[in-house]
Amino acid sequence: MNGDGTYWLREHKGTLLAFAAFLVMFTIYATNHSAGLDANVATTAANKGALLAIIAMAQTFVVLTSGIDLSVGAVMVLANCLASWIVVGSPLMTALGVIGVLLVGCLCGAINALIVIFGRLQPIVTTIATGAVFYGAALALRPVPGGDVNTALADALTGQLPGGVPASLSLLLAVVVVVWLPFRRSVIGRAAYAVGSSEVAAYMSGVPIRRAKFVAYTLSGLLASMAGLFVTFITYTGEASAANASTYTLYSIAAVVLGGVSLFGGSGSAVGAIFGAFMFRTIGDLLFVFNVEPLWQPLFQGLVLSVAVCLGAARLLRVRNRLDLYG
């Protein structure tokens, strides 16, 4: 194998491992499902998976710069509440509404970025506080659950394409092609990776640190609002649910880690995060297929997550110098 190939393999090891693990789990799931894998089963599974995958991608952008975004769940809920007001009516109105929701998502991300870049506050604290603000805004929009959504659009995006392919998967593919790949291949994208590996080195090399962080946080907000739109399409309502906000924030971190993205920044990819999200969802589905009592499911889910996380400790076996363990 030539040098490029080895490098490519090393760079994408996390993504490939996540893909392989998901494939194994999904095969077990599909072969053991009582009804077999028909289009409806696949669509339901895909919708749940796609939602988590989008929010995990949102988290990935920030994690790559060695930051963390604890406000993704709140942005998602805010987008959900906003969408239940404005993504209605004629096709033109709906289109404008979708654009509006996405713009608000970008705005939320940009606010995080500005505070982190120019305020020089730590991302974790910043996004805890802005998350409270975004959630407050969602609550102002929808004090009680309700609202509506353009059902034609909702059904189209959560249904099936001709041929039985879940529409949500094609949506996910579109997001990867339109948002992730251009980012990954651009100078800004490289800069985001560089900032994540070593901010000082990136600064010394003249990498546009600020622009890279700004774009990463803004795209994170954009994707979180997409996830919010998708929630609206699935539920047909807007709800300012604090539980949803915190659950999806925590799940997004779990999915990112399962997808081989390093929380220290600078390594991993959004594609890995997608498979991490799919894996996380399949765990729950597997427990269902094997008739684990519902009572025990959260415990098993937690244990599987712990085991997956502990696999990351395998690198300890390769450490030759103990000092490498301490940062």
């Binding site: 102002a140 600064y203 937690g302 996380v309």
Partner: protein
């Protein structure tokens, strides 16, 4: 590195702590405009009592943050502490006697597992504690669903959280004072505490200096778990019963209180006095917003904006060019 600031009162007080106390005074003044009872001793003692629950939990969060780590398992460790203590109460007279230790021991056990993951397996604490949170949640759901344990708290728990013995000072405040005194002693007067600061500044250097870094990290997480559980025991005593979501409202305020008190989220810097200020500030802020009868959304927005604003004043990091 400008770090390595020696904790304790011998050195000058951190400006962040002064800012935090200044903001407390400001909040009290604003509050007294709205309601004259805001400055009454009864009201202030009541606030201090409510603050002591957050104070105990924030003490654990601070220990871990000083290491440069974070504990996201607070919600369900708090719940586990409360629920196991009430469950123990239902086991009979002996159980009732040991209700509080049982609750705390469960928290220590959960924290110990996180500590092993962080210290020995070298997994980022954010992930380990997240996983532990999920495990604790699963355990509690199995526990409540499968065994339907008692959920009302023992007499001792209620007395500890709601009663008052000396000079009308609530017992919960005394518990916080005891925990705080122990934390100050531990952080400033023991090898353990110094090692915590050293690890937060540079773990590699601490290791090379011969400090038993891994044991200290593990112990800090165990302590954090135990303190979260103690917070849960207090909360269960206060509400006279334990509930599943009782810890959810304490994760972010605990971290916010520690950071508002001037402790660096990157570790190695911060004093317990600051955490006390942060806890009181957060509690008063939440209280004044409800006294002002602000709608719930406004409370969330103000809460977030105030945290950002205060940190922008005194909590800023260094430029990457420094």
């Amino acid at each position: 590195m400008p770090g390595g600031r020696v904790p304790g009162t011998r050195r000058r007080i951190d400006p962040a702590v002064l800012w935090a106390f200044g903001c407390i005074v400001l909040v009290l003044l604003v509050g007294s405009v709205y309601s004259s009872s805001f400055l009454s001793p009864q009201y202030l003692l009541q606030q201090l009592k409510v603050a002591s629950f957050l104070g105990v939990i924030a003490t654990g969060a601070m220990l871990v943050i000083l290491l440069g780590q974070i504990d996201l398992s607070v919600p369900w460790v708090v719940a586990a502490g409360g629920m196991m203590a009430t469950a123990a109460t239902g086991w009979g007279p002996l159980g009732e006697l040991f209700a509080i230790p049982v609750g705390i021991a469960c928290g220590v056990a959960l924290g110990l597992v996180s500590g092993v993951g962080v210290a020995f397996l070298r997994i980022p604490s954010m992930v380990v504690t997240l996983a532990m949170n999920a495990v604790a949640q699963g355990l509690m759901i199995v526990h409540t669903g499968g065994f339907s344990p008692q959920d009302s708290s023992s007499r001792a728990m209620r007395v500890m959280a709601t009663g008052d013995t000396v000079l009308g000072i609530p017992n919960a405040v005394l518990v916080w004072v005891a925990v705080g005194a122990a934390a100050v002693f531990l952080l400033t007067r023991t090898t353990f505490g110094r090692t915590v600061y050293a690890i937060g500044n540079r773990e590699r250097a601490a290791y090379l200096s011969g400090a038993r870094t891994r044991v200290v990290v593990m112990a800090a997480f165990a302590l954090s778990g135990g303190l979260s559980a103690l917070g849960g025991v207090l909360l269960a005593g206060y509400a006279s019963k334990a509930a599943q979501a009782m810890g959810d409202a304490y994760l972010l305020p605990a971290i916010a209180a520690v950071v508002l008190g001037g402790t660096s989220i990157l570790g190695g810097r911060g004093s317990y006095l600051g955490t006390v200020a942060g806890v009181i500030l957060i509690t008063l802020l939440q209280s004044i917003l409800s006294v002002m009868q602000m709608p719930e959304f406004g409370r969330h927005v103000t809460y977030g904006v105030v945290i950002i604003a205060m940190l922008l004043i005194y909590g800023r990091g260094r430029r990457s060019s420094d």
